[in-house]
Subunit: 211 residues, 4 copies
């Protein structure tokens, strides 16, 4: 943090606080997931092993949400690595994105408590909203010339495409949820695969600029 002798653009300072708030929210949201996993109050000493195994849908939901929040955090890191300026709109778009991140522990708890279509739709909608907001933030930042001016169009396009994989995948899974909830959940695994594949296909020359 450089000291700023004059009242001048201090984009770095404000972006530093935006990242500090964002990392804090990511950290708490991802840690709150663990509060969904508890043994029933009625568990007896003898029943602990069975009770622990019976929690497997909760472990699975925890794992999926941990991976998705991790993925969105990496998306956020990638974006803000090249964002050099802020605007009022950027701060609010980032808060909107963080609101969907904060909702994830709730969606996760509903999903792990009730394996019904509504839970799957809620969960996929939450995740899709987070992803579309992240994409919107990226387009907003590029259009508003808030990103590094040396950023080429290939990198911009690549950012849009990789950003869209998760929310498009989750949106498609909403349709599957009405057919079969398990099918929808399994389809989420494909999102990770698709993400990796697109990263591979669109890969920039293996320079350091690529996460």
């Amino acid at each position: 943090m450089e000291s700023n002798e004059k009242v001048s653009p201090n984009h770095e300072k404000v972006l530093g606080r935006l990242l500090s708030l964002s990392d804090g929210i990511f950290a708490f949201a991802i840690t709150l997931l663990i509060l969904n996993i508890t043994l029933p109050d009625s568990t007896t000493r003898a029943a602990v092993p069975q009770a622990l195994l019976a929690l497997w849908p909760k472990y699975l939901a925890f794992l999926i949400s941990f991976v998705v929040i991790g993925l969105y955090w990496i998306v956020h890191v990638r974006q803000f690595r090249v964002i050099r300026k802020y605007s009022s709109g950027l701060l609010w778009l980032n808060l909107l994105f963080l609101m969907f991140i904060v909702l994830i522990p709730f969606s996760t708890s509903v999903l792990s408590d009730f394996e019904v279509t509504a839970s799957v739709v809620l969960y996929a909608t939450n995740m899709a909203c987070a992803g579309f907001t992240a994409t919107g933030l990226w387009i907003y930042a590029v259009r508003g010339k808030l990103v590094d001016e040396k950023l080429g169009p290939a990198r911009v396009r690549r950012g849009i495409i990789t950003n869209l994989i998760a929310p498009v995948g989750f949106t498609l899974s909403i349709g599957l949820a009405f057919i079969n909830t398990n099918l929808a959940a399994y389809s989420w695994l494909l999102i990770g695969v698709a993400h990796r594949a697109v990263d591979w296909i669109l890969k920039l020359p293996k320079s350091d600029e690529d996460i």
Copy 2:
């Protein structure tokens, strides 16, 4: 963070920690809001869709509080972008401000559980106290010459006025709460509008210094 070879004013270092604590508390308070939203224990699998829809007053309270905490965070960012020095009084005033931020998840849970006058008064009082403390902190910092010395009087006045919009709006809504609780709640939406309008009217030349 520059290393400091001598025991000398290290205002930057202490302000860095103040911001680190503040961003942590903002992040935690905003994330705690989600704990207010839970499905009743008695929810059956078939009733999940209805139960999710029945939570709408909680979603609304979550949304309002998220926006207000976001607004106060932006106010805090704006202020500390130009504060260059600290004092013991500044640290304590900031802690007082943060205390009102920490109370928001409680006020929000009361508001979303009970739509009565007392809840609305509690909520509006909490928000007003946060806003007035932020304004007090700003005046204290300006008077104590803790802000950047190049800061002009227009910017100072603008800071006071924009800081006062939210707390004055919430204070006025307390009166409305005794007439009709919904009226009070809807009046909060005007705060956002008023904030935007004042930002527009008082706008500084669109230089980078404006958030």
Copy 3:
């Protein structure tokens, strides 16, 4: 954060992480206090005003704990403003100090639920342990030459004395708790007064070095 080309002492980097962890823990511990304040499940709509007023012992406990955690945070800021090096012992002493900070939400909840001697003793012991550990950390850092080498003996002594006020006050209040719990609680207010008085008496020339 300077990049470090060589495997060399990087005290600044490690101290930066120590402060990052500490500020995070302070922020969460202080925010967790709010979880102690909840309306009873049996509260009816009509009874909300009375129920909110009946929570006053909880508000008071919240306020006291917020102020004390704030005080210990300021003590921590003061100390680490002049600590320039770390050692394995410093990391562990700081973790021990943070452990007592983490315990405060628990002690506070016991105190606000049960106004009995045992609660007051628990609370005062928790606070005293935190304060004595902070004093120990300061002496350890000075003896181990981890502090800025330009730090004079007056400043060191002043650090020890101001650090001791809170824990000595809380220790004395344990005795009072066996006579009258309210007496003990009121005596805590004197700690703040004593702190301010000693700051005044021992005040260094009003240079920037003084918080």
Copy 4:
């Protein structure tokens, strides 16, 4: 944080965010431990002293988990003090490590509620997984040349060995858990002793590079 004029490797910036997320998660996970300690709802005023004493298995579990999370935090600090570059793999390995840290409050609550073999096995497995992941991350970073290039093979080897002490100790304790749960728990104390002993035996010249 240096401003980055060109779209170029910005390893420092990304590693800064990785550390910010990690410290937030460590701070939150370590603070969540306190939520395991609560007095039973049925406690009467007269029974508070006994009830507080009856919580001793919870205090003990809190203490052990606090020390182990502290130990893993120090391991993390040591590693990232010399890691200079990131890769996609490093980000995900770190997230995997953090996932095991986030699980610790759950394992701790099971352990403190039920002193049975299954709880001890769960706890030791959780801790072992965290430790092995940390070791894997270190080997990955060294092989991928993400660490400081001046890092000698002695330091690398030392890192592997010290990293392995905790997870190997916890793995061995799983066997003991099937004989006697207390025996397993006491064996964890040896991990601390072994850690200190190995630090002593493998000690690098007392230069600043040693934590």
